[in-house]
């Protein structure tokens, strides 16, 4: 899942004239589409931006396991249970690649997890919404993973090598997840009236939060300019959001569902769908911690980490004892 609102601590993009020789050489590599690797020189702000973005992304994968994990024990068929378990396991794998990619920039996984738990780093706000019915598992796959892919495909061309490579693997799996989510929705929409109503209810609740996943409108996004110049981010929030709407509306029509937006209409002149105004006050409230599940999600993660401390400590202690015994025997 993509991280929104990356706070880089930067407010303006430097001109070439303001740059040092190192910075100019770095920017020239970026402009030539040469990947930056962990041992290469990079501006401190570039490193900071990436650490923040990659770790927000990693945390989003891990926290994102919770709303979907919520239905593993209640999946309505064994086939669906297996698919969902495998999917959530994939998210854990994504978290792992991403933590590793961030570690190449000089920050430890433990530090990142502590920063998340201390509230210093965020995860994607979408996971602060609850999965109330089985249809939400369909909607999350279809819409949330769909929006995530839209955000992530450009990241496969991100200037930082380890992140770009991680994203290539992740995107392949995410597109599979999206199809699985759509398949859940299809079964529901072809099913009983109760199932169809369940699907519509899930779309009603997940539509607007999914659009918010692309982050604030370009005009209000202060950090995008830098990320674009460094080719960390290659398409703007609004461009991606429009692509998502254009892709999703026909899918919703196919399912026979109604997108909860009275202003949604095809605009022949633009060649795109027009859509209604997003309630950004809700987005900012959720970001501040006032979403339905912010506290639950953090509590669950913190408890898992704290409850697991003795396990991690024991594993380290055993490894040390084993090494000591091997040395003594040698």
């Amino acid at each position: 899942m993509y991280a929104q609102m990356i706070d880089t601590g930067l407010t303006k993009v430097a001109d070439t004239a303001d740059m040092s020789d190192d910075e100019r050489a770095f920017q020239a590599r970026i402009d030539d589409d040469v990947r930056i690797e962990p041992k290469d020189w990079m501006p401190e702000a570039y490193r900071r931006t990436l650490i923040r973005q990659i770790q927000q992304h990693a945390h989003s994968e891990v926290v994102g396991m919770l709303p979907e994990g919520n239905w593993i024990t209640r999946a309505p068929s064994l086939a669906r249970k297996a698919i969902l378990m495998a999917k959530v396991q994939d998210e854990a794998g994504h978290g792992l690649y991403l933590y590793c990619a961030a570690e190449t920039l000089g920050v430890s996984r433990e530090q990142m997890i502590e920063d998340l738990h201390a509230g210093k780093v965020k995860y994607s706000s979408i996971f602060n919404y609850p999965t109330l019915t089985w249809a939400d598992i369909g909607a999350v796959g279809w819409l949330v993973d769909g929006a995530a892919i839209m955000n992530q495909i450009p990241l496969c061309r991100c200037s930082f090598g380890p992140y770009a490579r991680a994203m290539i693997r992740i995107c392949k799996e995410e597109s599979f997840h999206q199809r699985q989510g759509f398949d859940v929705m299809m079964s529901l929409c072809r099913g009983t009236p109760e199932q169809k109503a369940m699907a519509q209810d899930a779309l009603d609740r997940w539509w607007w939060p999914s659009l918010m996943m692309f982050g604030p409108p370009d005009a209000a996004s202060v950090h995008s300019a830098h990320s674009a110049k460094w080719k960390i981010k290659r398409l703007s929030n609004d461009e991606l959001r429009q692509r998502f709407v254009d892709q999703t509306v026909p899918q919703s029509d196919y399912l026979g569902l109604r997108i909860p937006d009275d202003d949604l209409a095809w605009n022949e002149d633009r060649g795109h769908y027009d859509f209604g105004a997003i309630d950004w006050s809700e987005f900012h409230e959720v970001l501040k911690g006032h979403g339905p599940c912010n506290r639950d999600r953090m509590r669950t993660r913190v408890n898992a980490w704290e409850d697991g401390a003795w396990v991690r400590e024991a594993a380290v202690a055993h490894a040390q004892k084993r090494d000591a015994r091997a040395k003594a025997a040698a």
């Binding site: 396991m65 593993i72 309505p76 064994l78 249970k81 378990m85 396991q89 697991g308 991690r312 024991a314």
Partner: protein, 258 residues
Amino acid sequence: MKLQLFDYLLRLADNDLVLAQRLGEWVGKGPVLEEDIASTNVGLDLLGQARLWLAYAGEVEARADAVGRSEDQLAFFRTDREFRNLLLVEQPNGHYGDTITRQYLFDQWHVLLLAELATSRDSRIAAIAAKALKEVRYHVERSSQWVIRLGDGTDVSHARMQAAVDALWMYTGEMFSVDETERALIDAGIAADNAALAAPWRAAVQSVFAEATLDVPADPWMQGARGRGGKQGVHTEHLSRMLAEMQALPRMYPEARW
């Protein structure tokens, strides 16, 4: 014989299904991300095995009764009294050490059982067992390593593991009992002789526990004895609660297809 075979296949299926369900409860909450992935992998393997056994059970039922149930009908529309799993696998997750101990005690038996079943005279059982055996060899490797790590690790982890072993030990006897259903199938060369698994199981457990610095409990008293245990559908209080959660949606919408 067909009904006995059906019953036996449910025992095999339900062990896997119930333990997979328990492991599913851990997803997203493991002590470290790598373990979350590994433990879910084991759960997925067991779920896959359960589905193979259930599919075969349904076919056997159809042969005996003309109507065989599907894997989902068997998983979601039987009551706890109709489930045939061992009491061990339905025990709650507890802390990670409880979960690992439950897993190891089961895996160590499971791997021996499947090795026997791989030579069953019933070719379908032999084929499923051979496939499952490859997976379960890895399961026992992983869970035994964790028992050793946690048993030998710190004072805290050692104490927790010993307590877990002491609490779960009384559910291990059932794995080696043989009732009438099994007797008939053992004699026919179809089922594995559980009683013969006891000695190799105990030897393996003693060796792992020795490395883990854990004591094998001395109390010989076992749950599920006298033909009244999980295999006969007489469970602990935990199973019906677990099934209530697992079966809620299909039972709420029995007409629906998912």
